[in-house]
């Protein structure tokens, strides 16, 4: 085992330590602690690159199934259960480590310029460093407890970062919404972990996967419910329908946070969990069993693809378009996992991270440099392509990748998912996939048109007419260029069209299931063919054409009958309103769940209280009063008062004597307490000896 594989625990430990340094000493450092954050992420990047390199070497040297590289130490022990902490490196973990460290490094470089002069500059870097550390902890977790640890660290940091500018009420509310919505899902994770422990009597991920893939469990039903519980956690974390409502609100945080959150950390965690425990889900939910048309993961993923893409059409905030696009792409990943396309889904995590991070950073660059920190595409953007050539080029590269144009990265991952759906007999999800591709192209065309083409408006107008205006500074453009280029080329790691399957070879052993035929086997990735790709590509082209024509008509210079159509046409207006209100899901949660369910319960409780309980209490009261009268007359006045008066006199005397003890001094009371305890102890010792 190589040095890097053995010492992979250093990868999360470095940013973790950097977090402590920044939070303790950051304010006294010349650059406010950001240099420590960036250095630690660079160190993590180098370590992850070494780890990935040694993992690849290990796969290439071996001709059989490659076991994961484990190094573990006992963390704590409860009864017979030992919980370890350490690292579990296999293809999936190595990919994710490299991805997270890489994106985090670029985002930190970008942030040094973007949040310059912020009043909580140091805290920002502390939180974002810990955030990356949390994700890194999670991806190399050898057992469910460490995974939960990383998962929760991320939940906390996302709260801190989304609410970074908490002085505005909307931001702190968005942070709370994100935190609580994800918590709803987290209950599923806790329950799921407990169920896994009950089924497999271990928390080690490797052992769980092996046992699930080999069918070594007693109760299939229990395994299914465990998979459902774990998937609920993934729904919350990855913003899947119906818990996706927190993700767009999370745009309240600074743009670098959005880009990190949406590309490689946090939201990917849910998809990662499904990929990590794939045998549990695959066996538990009967995926790829002959004749199965639907399963939970694919259905949720498919719904998410479509509804999020629909929402992306009506957003005016450029970051919200990207947010819904992320939700939709996460839907693709889930759908891919649901239809048995493990490799394609994980590869989509990989390529999506580059282009989505790039898109967010482009949006930040536009807002930071050109449109006076506004994100409103209709009010403050437009016509920026000439003045911001680097940002524009990066944006176009990433958009091409997101839409899945041939021979850029999205093409190799997304089409692979769609292809697999067709190949594995999930026809419905094949259609969902190509319709989603159409919608993706259409909303990205709209966003691109509004931002970079047409007439400059608002803040952008000032910028465009300013002779000295330049594209953003190098801290911003360097990450953009790197990410933009990767958005173009990263797909070639796994390009079935050229029969290049490196990514598949490196990660194959992480699936945890045999490939091919068999009860518990995952299907092989499909062969590439233009025939199955053509409908998707045709729809992408159609999406581009339709959207471009509509944009020209609605937002272009000329007057057109289409302008303002959503205000005039009843059907379109209803549809538009439905989308603007996010399918009324927020209202549903607020009105139906909170008012509709909680309020009747409390009203019923109130009625019971008033009519039934009070009736009983009143009756008892009446009876009690009558008895009381009798008792008062004879017993109380005669018998008791005599005794009471006597004891009162005694107590008064004793109280007078003890009065000085009540000094009102807390220390005095403490001393008395310990004195009394000491006397009591002494008596005990004397009696017992």
């Amino acid at each position: 085992m190589g040095w890097f594989l053995e010492h992979a625990w250093l990868i999360p430990a470095t940013p973790g330590a950097a977090f402590a340094v920044i939070i303790l000493f950051g304010k006294r450092m010349p650059r406010g602690g950001s240099e420590v954050g960036l250095a630690s992420m660079l160190a993590a990047l180098v370590l992850s690159a070494g780890t990935a390199y040694q993992w690849i070497a290990r796969v290439n040297d071996s001709h059989e199934e490659v076991p994961a590289a484990l190094s573990r130490w006992e963390w704590f022990r409860i009864g017979d259960l030992k919980v370890s902490i350490g690292s579990h490196i296999d293809g999936l973990a190595a990919v994710m480590l490299l991805l997270v460290a890489f994106i985090s490094t670029l985002v930190q470089l970008y942030s040094m310029e973007y949040v310059r002069g912020d009043r909580r500059y140091t805290h920002f870097f502390a939180a974002i460093t810990l955030f990356s550390a949390g994700m890194l902890t999670m991806v190399l977790a050898p057992n469910m407890v460490q995974l939960l640890l990383g998962w929760e660290i991320m939940g906390l940091c996302s709260f801190l970062l989304i609410g970074h500018w908490w002085e505005e009420r909307a931001n702190s509310e968005a942070a709370l919404k994100a935190f609580w919505t994800v918590r709803v899902g987290d209950m599923g994770l806790l329950v799921g972990i407990a169920m896994l422990l009950a089924i497999f009597h271990t928390l080690e991920i490797g052992a769980i996967n092996e046992a699930a893939a080999a069918g070594e469990f007693d109760n299939k039903n229990l395994l299914m419910w465990a998979a459902v519980a774990l998937f609920i956690a993934c729904i919350g974390k990855s913003g899947q329908f119906p818990l996706h409502t927190w993700l767009p609100d999370a745009m309240a945080g600074p743009t670098p946070v959005s880009s990190l959150l949406h590309s490689s950390t946090m939201v990917v965690a849910g998809v990662f969990l499904v990929a990590r425990l794939y045998p549990v889900f695959h066996v538990g939910l009967d995926m790829n069993i002959a004749g199965q048309r639907f399963n939970l993961i694919a259905v949720i993923g498919g719904i998410t693809v479509l509804i999020a893409a629909g929402l992306a059409f009506v957003q005016n905030d450029i970051k919200k378009v990207l947010a819904y696009s992320t939700v939709s792409q996460l839907g693709y990943m889930m759908m891919g996992l649901g239809v048995g396309a493990w490799t394609a889904a994980v590869f989509h995590i990989f390529t999506h991270a580059f282009f989505k991070c790039c898109l967010f950073l482009c949006a930040g660059s536009v807002s930071h440099t050109a449109s006076h920190h506004s994100f409103d595409m209709k009010k403050d953007m437009g016509g920026l392509r000439k003045k911001m050539p680097v940002t524009f080029a990066a944006w176009m590269a990433a958009t091409a990748a997101l839409c899945g144009l041939p021979f850029v990265s999205g093409f190799f991952s997304k089409d692979e998912i769609i292809d697999s759906a067709k190949n594995n007999d999930y026809k419905v999800f094949y259609i969902v996939g190509i319709v989603g591709a159409f919608m993706t192209t259409a909303y990205m065309t709209r966003a691109t048109y509004l931002t970079f083409f047409g007439k400059a408006r608002g803040g952008a107008a000032h910028f465009v007419h300013d002779e000295n205006a330049r594209d953003s500074s190098w801290q911003i453009t360097v990450p953009l260029v790197i990410l933009g280029s990767l958005a173009l080329v990263s797909g070639y790691l796994n390009a079935p069209i050229f029969k290049w399957h490196w990514f598949e070879t490196w990660t194959e052993s992480s699936i945890g299931l045999p490939l091919g035929e068999g009860i518990f086997a995952a299907p092989h990735p499909p062969e590439f063919s233009w025939v199955s790709t053509a409908p998707g590509l045709a729809l992408v082209a159609a999406g581009f054409g339709v959207s471009l024509l509509l944009c020209r008509a609605v937002f272009g210079e000329g007057t057109s009958g289409l302008r303002g159509l959503t205000e005039r046409n009843v059907v379109l207006r209803a549809g538009h309103k439905f989308l603007v209100n996010k399918y009324y899901l927020d209202a549903l949660y607020e009105r139906v769940v909170v008012r509709g369910i909680a309020h009747p319960i409390s009203r019923a409780a109130y009625w019971t209280n008033q009519n039934i309980l009070d009736g009983i209490v009143n009756a008892v009261g009446q009876g009690g009063r009558r008895t009381g009268d009798l008792v008062y007359k004879y017993i109380d006045q005669g018998l008791v008062d005599g005794a009471v008066n006597g004891s009162g006199t005694t107590a008064s005397g004793a109280g007078g004597a003890l009065q000085p003890v009540q000094s009102g001094k807390v220390n005095m009371y403490g001393a008395l307490l310990f004195g009394a305890a000491a006397v009591g102890g002494l008596v005990l010792v004397l009696v017992n000896s």
Partner: protein, 104 residues
């Protein structure tokens, strides 16, 4: 297994705690001293738990008790600090000498 070192450590912590409760005038320091006392008890419980586990190869009762105490202590400090905070807000001091309205 010898546990006298543990018990000695527990006793020393306990004494430091008692000293703090009796001698300190600052409410926060008194709360901290109470924590010390509770933790000295925890050390004793754990020490006896180990001893017991070696003898009879059973139970973790001591550890469980210690966990309970930690939880209860956390709750206690929560309430205590809240009181201190309110006192500070109302009087701008947390010196215990000034809090003698309960004098009989």
């Amino acid at each position: 297994m010898l546990i006298n070192e543990f018990l000695l450590l527990g006793a020393v912590l306990f004494c430091i705690g008692v000293y703090g409760v009796i001698a300190r005038k600052n409410a926060v320091l008194v709360l901290m001293s109470i924590e010390l006392i509770l933790n000295s008890v925890n050390i004793n419980l754990l020490a006896f738990d180990r001893l017991h586990a070696v003898d009879t190869a059973g139970g973790n009762d001591g550890s469980v008790f210690a966990l309970y105490i930690i939880a209860v202590a956390a709750a206690e400090v929560g309430v205590g600090l809240a009181m201190v905070l309110l006192i500070f807000r109302n009087r701008k001091t947390i010196s215990l000498d000034d809090l003698s309205e309960m004098k009989g």
